[in-house]
Amino acid sequence: MSGVRLLVGTRKGAFILTADGKRQQWDIAGPHFGGWEIYHLKGSPADPNRLYASQTSGWFGQILQRSNDAGKTWETVGNKFVYDGPTGQHLWYDGTPHPWEFKRVWHLEPSLKDPDTVYAGVEDAAMFRTTDGGQNWQELTGLRTHQSAGKWQPGAGGLCLHTILIDPSNPKRLFIAISAAGAFRSEDEGQSWRPINKGLKSNNEIPDPNAEVGHCVHRLAMHRSKPGVLFMQKHWDVMRSDDAGDSWREVSGNLPTDFGFVIDVHAHDPETIYVVPIKSDSEHYPPDGQLRVYRSRTGGEQWEALTNGLPQRDCYVNVLRDAMSVDALDKCGVYFGTTGGQVYASADGGDTWTAAALNLPPVLSVEAQTLP
């Protein structure tokens, strides 16, 4: 029987949750790498038992872990993330120049075809790639040396490259997002990049609200059948592009607040999308203490609250940007983790929810793997 594996990164370790296709009973394994921050784990689409994990610590820096057996055992691989060439400067919070400094790996995106090739998005923002299973990492310098990079400025979480999407119809085309620089697209596997932020408005956040860069993009999402359609949860505003990022329009519609971090797309319907509205940029919890996922079946604008099984009073958790994922079963499973340590699962596209885990450390990331 098919099943689902959830790779959950938390502030104090990694957990692997597994369930059969019913997705009602969850087995929790972990913590792996207890005491370390696990910003992200992800499996290779080409070999689902090949996992990669970003393990970091304020004390001891960055470690990369790899598993060849679905997380039963792990081995450390290369952790040398060195910017290639002069590091240059970006803007600091106060608008003064600040040198690039590597801090951690936020996001790992394995190649669609090769388990040994992985992209890594790091803080301070840059893109690295390994082609030998994580032993060696080379920077793709075209991003950090983009002519706009001197204007990039960190969001409250740091100057982080947190989203990497690979176009399944053309793996040379990549999309990435940086807080707070914006979204970028590459047509040559990351060698060169162009900002794709036309239509974003960041009033009261940057001097020119329509600037080419400087927007605090929290997350991008794409459906594999329509890689030219992108969805974005920005700091404020939920946005949509129908031309691979060349232009964007707001689709926040009737959301109770359009601030948030996560956004994802239904596995089988490219016009069904999910967000978790958060009250404001300083009040990082759901409005009215009610944890609600909002679903749009129209690619935005019209949204419905999904509440069945989610706490509807006194709930003040956040859902961080890498902490939502979907599986490919029928019906589509939707999952998200909270800063309160809960992982919620829906086996019916969001209609009903159950807690797959209730008492983990604060959740940083959730990735769903659909198992044969």
């Binding site: 370390w36 610590s57 304020g58 004390w59 001891f60 820096g61 960055q62 470690i63 952790n79 040398k80």
Partner: protein, 98 residues
Amino acid sequence: MIRVILPQHLRTLARVDGEVTVDVPGPPTLGGVLTALESTYPVLQGTMRDHVTLKRRPFVRFYACEQDLSHDPPDNPLPEPVASGAEPFLVVGAMAGG
């Protein structure tokens, strides 16, 4: 032979229990011990000091003989009791919560 006590998380990474020992060629120095540790346990590269600049990570400290050696130049000789093996060299994660 230099005796070294690593913090728990680095022992886990290096897959060792308790105290470890490393050989340091010539008169043992702070930098020499770190190089020997990284050579013996490559997984520790980058965890105590920067890969390239070799600058100590801010929240890592080096103690020995009830002294804080964290700010000593890397080619400073280690105290004689450490060099002779009578006392261990301690790698410590700075005290902090979280």
